[in-house]
């Protein structure tokens, strides 16, 4: 009789050690510093990579198994949604504009994150962390693909999605998102790790996955919400990795503290500015409302953030420098952003509109300290213009912050009255900012941020026209020429939602939720 082969029973701990730390070797043909040339120049010191422990103890074999299961479940829903014409069952045609902005501004960032973390994985000589970041890189690629697949069903029926990657590269209002992605991508591996995993994932993605995704479900988009949920379990892992990375690096060397704190200050503020898009989606682009941006901020950012930094204080960390301003901004930023994009609505690749009266009332109730005082009167003015057959269209190109690239739409802390301006000089040139924190990010690395490609300036330099287009010809229309260059179709992709092709189609298809049924 054959001898039975004893199965090796590894504990999770053994398996993790075997599949991560045990894979390491010191190179002999080339010095380690030449093989890993990027993990020392930022000034971070690591003395013992063996101390890195992934809290999930995830190994590659388990990773692919889990992710494969999640993909199967997700695509069952996405396919069913498409086959059952799910796009007709969303609450209101305006909702689709949320998906447009998502695939224009957020989805390309997932792809950048995938590339960013692939390079973090290649750059670090600590094997276990290298494996964890490679999984994160694969996660981000998966999120990019999932979002693209889910939204592609809507692309068959609606405008405003057909050239999203080109718009990410060229449309002026998306440079906010592109500059964020490229800022991370051009940073060193440790900054990328801390900036994206901790600054963005850990501190600021909860409103996206909790409050915004609930609203997406509430508006009948089961496809997008499934994409959100499948990504959420990955992001939970990324958040934990971000916290562990911070703790690991702080424990490795006391000199790491000032560097890590500077990155937390920077990436909290960069991420906070980027989340202005989410704030606007939540308060203005979700037709059936659940929770305001401010409520989501209180519950998912401010409260857990206070608790987290109380815990991290024992390691010497303090809250990010922009914390107070960001918490004050919860009363304002969604309104300031919608006001800006409404005014530039003829230059975008999504539709804007004036909220209906019941929606204005909801905003008044949710924002008692700011909405009626500062923001409702201007929206009511736009409604009056509509009633007279007119619409506000900003005729200029907006002044942008050199760091975050938002137009200067934000006001000083505590008030909606005064636009915040900051400026500084570098190498004989003046640079302008939206806030103290964007100015400080610039001043820490002026060589980097002085190279920013600001869309408004590029337009005025004549860089945003198709080949052969000349400014000095009769009947030249700068705005039309720039939209052509970006492949945004004037009158189809942009302008007011009312009477748009999307609105008329949605109505003709008999789409939208029955209001009585929707109340159930």
């Amino acid at each position: 009789m054959d001898k039975r082969v004893e199965k090796n029973k590894h504990t999770l701990h053994d398996l993790y050690a075997a599949m991560t730390h045990d894979l390491h070797w010191e190179t002999t043909y080339q010095p380690m510093d030449k093989v890993f040339p990027h993990d020392r120049y930022e000034g971070i010191k690591v003395h013992d990579w063996e101390k890195w422990q992934d809290p999930f103890r995830l190994t590659s074999d388990a990773y692919w198994k889990f992710q494969g299961e999640k993909e199967k479940r997700l695509y069952a829903v996405v396919d069913a949604f498409a086959q059952n014409n799910g796009q007709l069952g969303v609450s209101d045609g305006r909702y689709v504009n949320l998906l447009k902005l998502f695939i224009q501004a957020i989805t390309p960032n997932e792809y950048y994150a995938h590339r960013s973390f692939a390079q973090v994985g290649r750059s670090l000589r600590g094997d276990a962390l290298r494996i964890a970041t490679q999984m994160k890189s694969a996660d981000e690629l998966r999120h990019f693909q999932n979002q693209t697949h889910a939204i592609s069903n809507f692309n068959k029926y609606f405008n405003g999605m057909h050239h999203a990657p080109q718009w990410f590269d060229h449309a002026w209002y998306l440079s906010v998102s592109k500059s964020f992605a490229e800022d991370a991508f051009s940073a060193g591996p440790f900054e990328r790790l801390i900036g994206l995993s901790f600054g963005f994932d850990d501190l600021l993605t909860r409103p996206l996955f909790a409050s915004l995704m609930s609203a997406v479900a509430h508006n009948g988009d089961l496809s997008a919400v499934s994409v959100g949920f499948t990504a959420q379990s990955d992001t939970s892992r990324h958040m934990t990795m971000g916290q562990e990375a911070v703790k690991f690096l702080l424990q490795q060397d006391a000199a790491n503290l000032t560097i890590i704190q500077r990155w937390i200050d920077k990436w909290f503020w960069r991420s906070y500015r980027l989340m202005t898009f989410a704030a606007m989606m939540q308060d203005y682009m979700v037709p059936k409302r659940m929770m305001s941006w401010k409520e989501g901020w209180d519950m998912f950012v401010q409260k857990p953030g206070e608790a987290l930094f109380a815990e991290l204080a024992q390691l010497g960390l303090r809250k990010p420098k922009g914390w107070e301003q960001a918490c004050d901004g919860k009363h304002h930023i969604s309104h300031q952003a919608w006001n800006a994009y409404y005014g530039f609505g003829h230059t975008l690749a999504f539709h804007t509109w004036v909220p209906e009266i019941a929606e204005l009332d909801w905003l008044s109730q949710k924002y008692p300290d700011s909405f009626d005082r500062w923001y409702r009167p201007r929206l009511e003015h736009y409604a009056q213009l509509h009633a007279a057959g007119q619409r506000l269209n900003n005729q200029s190109v907006p002044m942008q912050c050199q760091t975050c690239q938002f137009p200067l739409i934000f006001t000083e802390q505590g008030s909606g009255r005064w636009t915040a301006y900051r400026e500084t000089q570098h190498a004989g040139e003046t640079f302008h900012f939206c806030s103290d924190h964007c100015e400080e990010i610039f001043s820490n690395e002026p060589e980097k941020y002085s190279q920013a490609n600001l869309a408004s300036h590029q337009i005025l330099q004549g860089q945003c026209y198709n080949a052969g287009v000349q400014e000095n010809t009769a009947g030249f229309d700068r705005q039309a020429a720039v939209l052509d260059f970006c492949q945004i179709v004037q009158g189809h992709d942009n302008g007011d939602f009312k009477n748009s092709e999307d609105a008329l189609n949605f109505e003709n298809w008999g789409a939208g939720q029955d209001p009585q049924e929707a109340q159930l």
């Binding site: 040339p37 990027h38 120049y41 930022e42 000034g43 060193g188 300031q336 006001n339 800006a340 005014g343 530039f344 005082r373 500062w374 923001y375 409702r376 009167p377 201007r378 009511e380 003015h381 736009y382 506000l392 269209n393 900003n394 005729q395 200029s396 190109v397 907006p398 002044m399 942008q400 137009p407 200067l408 739409i409 909606g416 009255r417 005064w418 636009t419 301006y421 400026e423 190498a427 040139e429 003046t430 640079f431 302008h432 001043s443 820490n444 690395e445 002026p446 060589e447 980097k448 002085s450 190279q451 920013a452 490609n453 600001l454 408004s456 300036h457 590029q458 005025l460 330099q461 004549g462």
Partner: protein, 118 residues
């Protein structure tokens, strides 16, 4: 501080004055935020303040219902955060404006739609 890099860090900026047909000027009407952000224009610095008022501002801000009510004799002028006394026939250069300066004006008594700074 300067940028951390693995070698020498060569770079160039995109917004030097030579890259524009005319210098860049940022213009803002304080407390009127239906326009949401200051505007970028390119303009010869030999342009007089009078010409800015007559030719540039109506195009940028004429859509605002309060624009026609501005009493230009009472307008307060700022270069960035610093108030200056205007000489309407003097040029922007004579007022100290250079490439990428900010020209702001404030209209006391006119503070946006229903006083909301909109």
């Amino acid at each position: 501080m300067s940028v951390a890099a693995i070698g020498s860090y060569e770079h160039s900026t995109h917004d030097a004055v030579k890259n524009f047909a005319h210098p860049l000027l940022y213009v803002a009407w304080d407390e009127h935020m239906i326009f949401s952000a200051p505007c970028c224009v390119t303009i010869s610095l030999s342009t007089s303040l009078e010409d800015v008022v007559q030719k540039i501002l109506p195009e940028l801000y004429g859509q605002h219902p309060q624009f026609k009510n501005i009493n230009w004799a009472r307008v307060q002028w700022f270069k960035s955060a610093t108030m200056f006394t205007p000489n309407m026939t003097a040029s922007l250069a004579e007022h100290g404006f250079t490439h990428k300066s900010v020209l702001r004006f404030r209209t006391p008594g006119l503070e946006g739609i229903r006083g909301s700074c909109g």
